[in-house]
Symmetry: C2
Subunit: 354 residues, 2 copies
């Protein structure tokens, strides 16, 4: 990583995404392109089905993109090692569940490999609450909600997890028609996929006479190694037994402003702002709004982020949303009673009433 290596902050998004392997590897661009084709094929197939059948289930006019999870910054091209940042993807998964439950939107999820899965999450959380897997010492998985019917090879949901399991399975059913998931792992893949998806969704929403909405819930790396600066093979531990391993990571160019400016100008773009210091949260949220030309910023504080959030909008307004205190809905929260249902409703209200 010498001084004559590539500049870490290319002045334009075009330079960053150029197919010359300087900042982003060609493989990430190709993966984004495959994702784009997959999305278009699904839309085509759905349109054909609608034409073949009656037209009662017309294509949704609103297309929502939700990003979820963290990104990795590889330290080797073969990607044995990487710098990772913590994000479970729970917020993104919850938002997607609420979106998939609505017939008036179509959802595209950009999901970090291995992060929290919509709908499966509901069953895992239900199983975790009962604490059964904790007796073995391991985290819960979906099988913990099930049991074999005695003396046979049939299975059923355990009584305590029946509601959660049925709700989750209905969600998995609905995913088939209303959700497309595109996965990423590295920062390169994420940025290339976000650009390709934004451009595709903008055009399609426009074609349908509707609108695109981009909800940025992913936690994106602040630092990375430009592709051209990466060693090809696994860094050998034997070559670094004395001084250890020296690494230099460059700042990731800010792409948030590119979304409204270039990739999907007519979209409604909302990002999440997470802070641990609540006193600076409002200012930081308003700064993001103007700096990146966003339509909304959902501000949340780390410890209370599943209890309440405040949405700041470009018109200068703000609105605080709280999860229901009703214990009857606390177990299997969903729709208007859940905080994420309210966030979805509030963001879509700005778009669909326009």
């Amino acid at each position: 990583m010498s001084r004559d290596a590539v500049d870490a902050s290319p002045s334009t998004s075009d330079a960053f995404f150029a197919a010359d392997d300087a900042y982003v590897p060609r493989t990430a661009l190709e993966k984004a392109s495959r994702g784009q084709n997959f999305l278009l094929e699904r839309w085509n197939a759905r349109e054909k089905r609608n034409t073949d059948d009656d037209a009662s289930s017309a294509l949704a006019k609103t297309i929502v993109v939700v990003t979820s999870g963290g990104t990795t910054a590889p330290l080797e091209r073969t990607q044995v090692r990487c710098v990772d940042n913590f994000s479970s993807g729970t917020r993104g998964a919850r938002l997607v569940e609420e979106l998939v439950a609505r017939a008036d939107v179509e959802t595209v999820m950009l999901r970090r490999e291995g992060s929290c899965a919509p709908h499966e999450r509901i069953v895992i959380e239900s199983a975790t609450m009962s604490g059964e897997s904790a007796r073995v010492g391991r985290p819960s998985h979906a099988l913990d909600a099930l049991e074999l019917v005695e003396g046979g090879d049939e299975l059923r949901a355990k009584a305590a997890h029946r509601d959660a399991t049925v709700r989750a399975l209905r969600g998995v059913e609905a995913e088939r028609d209303r959700l497309t998931v595109l996965t990423f792992k590295t920062l390169y893949e994420y940025l290339a996929l976000l650009k390709a998806t934004c451009e595709t969704v903008e055009a399609e929403a426009c074609r349908r006479g509707g609108r695109a909405v981009v909800v940025l819930a992913a936690a994106v790396s602040d630092f990375y190694v430009p592709w051209r600066d990466l060693p090809e093979h696994k860094i050998q531990s034997s070559a670094h037994t004395e001084v250890g391993l020296e690494l230099t990571l460059k700042p990731v160019p800010k792409m948030l402003g590119e979304i409204k400016r270039v990739w999907c100008p007519s979209a409604f773009v909302a990002s999440f702002k997470l802070e641990t210091d609540v006193s600076i949260l409002a200012d930081k949220a308003r700064q993001s709004l103007s700096r990146y030309g966003l339509d909304a910023v959902v501000a949340n504080e780390l410890t209370t982020r599943y209890d309440h959030v405040t949405i700041y909008t470009a018109d200068g307004a703000s609105k605080t949303l709280r999860r229901s205190d009703d214990p009857a809905v606390a177990g299997v929260e969903h729709g208007a009673s859940s905080l994420d249902g309210q966030i979805v409703h509030e963001l879509l209200r700005h778009v669909q009433s326009a």
Copy 2:
């Protein structure tokens, strides 16, 4: 990370694990200690149950420890960022499934958080083969193997996944009596937990008149930042916009030799050796055997690792094991027909025939 920071390679395991926060944080030692207590409580409860009932289900004399997954090297004490290494934990999960299926052993799994879960894996792989979730674009999860019975709130396994789901649920049942899982994420947690577990299992196997077996399938980081050298808080991206982020990682002290030398001298210890170059594999495996005083090394090549492996033992012998070619067992491989079943059988043969 200045030159006068702590030496990265303390000369003794005692210095490395000293409770002075130099190399390993106190929290990792405390977590290991809690894991140790959890293990002892489970054994006590089982022993009491055996005394209360008849004594038909006596405690297994052989206790096997399996390590699984990769480890992270944190870059901040608050652990927003870390260096990670790739390992899905599939090998460890498969070995644990085979061990849990046997009544003659008790298993302790040291599992990286979020890595492959024994038994759940079987259902996910079955669902992946049917390719249904691929239509949405996401990876499979266990719910993909299930469906709602039409017109009702009952569920069942889809026909294609019935065998896999039933086998997995029987495995989850058996986990309750035969498996204890202790989880780790960081390298610090892994090393502290491995030491505590080895010591505890050695003593318990001895008390039962049996033997401890340690199977090291985890991929451990080669580099880390000693705890004393870590910044307390999240590294601010704003402070590194010019030159970027400079990091120095130190080599991780080799602990493999400590297992037989200090932590559990009477155990049978087997480690895995993975290479991409098959021509150096045998030599590397034999080197590991003598260098760390191991009893067995399971050598495998990256692309064929689920098809065949060679086990090198301290007596100079070697034995190649292959998965069954019988297509009838290829779908839901298990026991003697599976490669992992054979590995388990072969390792235990050395111990239980002695």
